[in-house]
Amino acid sequence: MTRHTRILMSVIYSAFVVYLFVPLALMVMMGFKDSKFIGFPIRGWTTEWYAGVFQDSEVLGVFAYSMTIAVSSTLLSLVIGVWVATFLGPNKFRGKLIVFALTCLPAVIPGIISAISLRIFARFLSIEPGMFAIILGHTVHNVPFVALVVMARLATLPKSHIEAAQDLGADKMVAFFRITLPYLLPALIGAGIFCMLLSFDDFVRAFFLGGYQPTLPVLIFAMLRTGMSPEINAISTVVLILTAVLGLWAERSMRRMNKGA
């Protein structure tokens, strides 16, 4: 790389970083603005919007609702994903590729299409729109990610470890719970956090499958329609910090896993 292209590259990269972070910085800033309207000029600062968020029982209730959905769908996705991975990983059978493709499909289908079809399907099964329907919708979407991450980890588990466990008296179940599952743990942590973030962040599925009770993204959307208020910025900032911390921690644990922890 010549000196000129190196300078050019760093300029482009800096521009990208600015483009990425300036909106976020603005959003965070507006949350501290002592005025009901979003925008410049800023004449005074306050933390009352944040205080408001933490005292607003509606916002707190919606946050808890979203968390419940995220945790439930994540746990469900982990169980199903591990099951799919342990079935697809080591077994060889005709049509394995097709089963694998079908497993991955929900991850790439556009959210809106998946959401509408799930809504129709839920009605067909007489499942009321609401928490349960959203959890199912998120699980369908998350299973492929879990399965893929777990399969990658499973492929590095030496066959001899399972054989050694069996040799020492373990049947298939004991070998799975005492050897395979602990070996998968870093992958499960990483995949689990990724699922939580996907679920917590989801708007389309929650909108179509939800009942009267909104999830956090749906609530923010509803608040936007009644007018921008710095309270939205405050909520968003809290969510931003939470998800960034979780996401970075997940990324770190995945990286450690790949190093073969």
Binding site: P158, D167, L168, P182, Y183, L185
Partner: protein
């Protein structure tokens, strides 16, 4: 097998096929209690498949395996009194050394105090006393190998399988571990079934070596028998270095068989077999069994020759001695370097004890 000890394992004409390949072909043998038996052979000879059938990881297509008198042919690994030391040790990475060793004991339903006592005892026995709370990644290769051994010995199996467990160690450590392993086998009195492709390992440790080739047993005997009295060309060439002499039987001279080799009369032994006069035979002679003289010895049937090649190898010197007119009438010999230098290269004499030239079965 004139051994008075009990038969612990009986492989009753077992055959294992993978698709159209026959990995093990009607293998029939008994293993005695307390024996250190080594299956030796090149990769793909069927030795590992035999080991895996004993462990329960493969089921023979034909034949029966009995362990301590009971038929275990179709029993899964977790229900046999057999434990294994894996080639890569297969230590559980998320468990401490102590937990690894205790794993088999827990699954046998032992009480906590029994498990602790036995684990402690084995770690002490294998000089791993201070390593109980370490994880496998904090250990050296040799230590890991000992943990794998402790873990396999813990449930007190009737038979211990060892699948090339020294392959991952460096040469110096390997030599030391060979001695240790033999010592551990003697002290525990356990039956060891060892699989390797390394002849040094086999010769150093075994009470008995079974050489396998293409799914069949080539020869079954003590290390000395295999080394000095190979029965087939495969065994002669696989173990150590050897002179192979092709000739025709002329007759016999007492116990010795007289063979015409390139027009030279040589004496060998068929170890009980009686090849007929006129038979084409092949005979094997170890390089270190060749005696060299600078003057013609008074007694015996020494052959005259000359040195055509000399190679210094440190602890010994390899000589190529041409003894006839034909180019391939060459005998190789190992000598001490000083002795090799003292020989007149243009004219010397060689001979050997007749029972060191082994007439091969095929």
């Amino acid at each position: 097998m004139t051994d008075q000890r009990d038969v612990i394992v009986h492989l009753d004409k077992i055959t294992k096929r993978f698709g159209s390949t026959v990995a093990v072909d009607k293998l029939d043998m008994e293993i005695m209690a307390g024996e250190f038996v080594t299956f030796l052979g090149p990769s793909g000879c069927g030795k590992s498949t035999t080991l895996r059938m004993l462990g329960g990881f493969e089921t023979p297509n034909e034949g029966r395996i009995t362990l301590g008198g009971a038929d275990v042919t179709r029993l899964p690994p977790n229900r046999r009194d057999v434990n294994m030391v894996f080639q890569d040790y297969a230590l559980f990475p998320h468990m401490t050394v102590g937990k690894n060793v205790a794993f088999g004991l827990e699954l046998k339903g032992k009480t906590r105090s029994e498990i602790d006592r036995r684990t402690e005892e084995l770690l002490e026995f294998l000089q791993l006393g201070g390593f109980r709370d370490r994880t496998p990644d904090q250990l050296s290769g040799g230590q890991r190998q000992r943990v794998a051994l402790a873990r396999a010995l813990a449930p007190d199996p009737k038979l211990l399988l060892l699948d090339e467990p020294l392959g991952a160690l460096d040469a110096k450590l390997r030599a030391q571990v060979q001695v240790e392993l033999k010592d551990i086998q003697k002290r525990t009195g356990k039956t060891f079934f060892f699989v390797t492709h390394d002849q040094d390992e086999a010769l150093t440790m075994s009470d008995r070596i079974v050489v396998m080739n293409a799914g069949r047993v080539e020869q079954d005997g003590t290390p000395e028998e295999l080394y000095f009295r190979p029965q087939s060309r495969f065994v002669a060439e696989f173990i150590g270095e050897t002179n192979l002499l092709e000739g025709t039987v002329r007759g016999s001279d007492g116990d010795a068989i007289v063979i015409d080799w390139n027009g030279i009369e040589v004496r060998g032994s068929a170890h009980g077999a009686k090849p007929a006069t006129g038979d084409a035979v092949m005979a094997a002679l170890r390089l270190e069994n060749v005696n060299c003289y600078s003057t013609r010895p008074q007694a015996g049937n020494a052959i005259e020759g000359r040195i055509v090649n000399k190679l210094f190898k440190g602890s010994r010197t390899a000589l190529d001695i041409r003894v006839g007119e034909r180019d391939d009438a060459v005998i190789k010999a190992y000598l001490d370097a000083r002795e090799a230098d003292s020989l007149p290269p243009e004219q010397l004499w060689i001979d050997w004890d007749a029972d060191r030239l082994s007439v091969l079965r095929d």
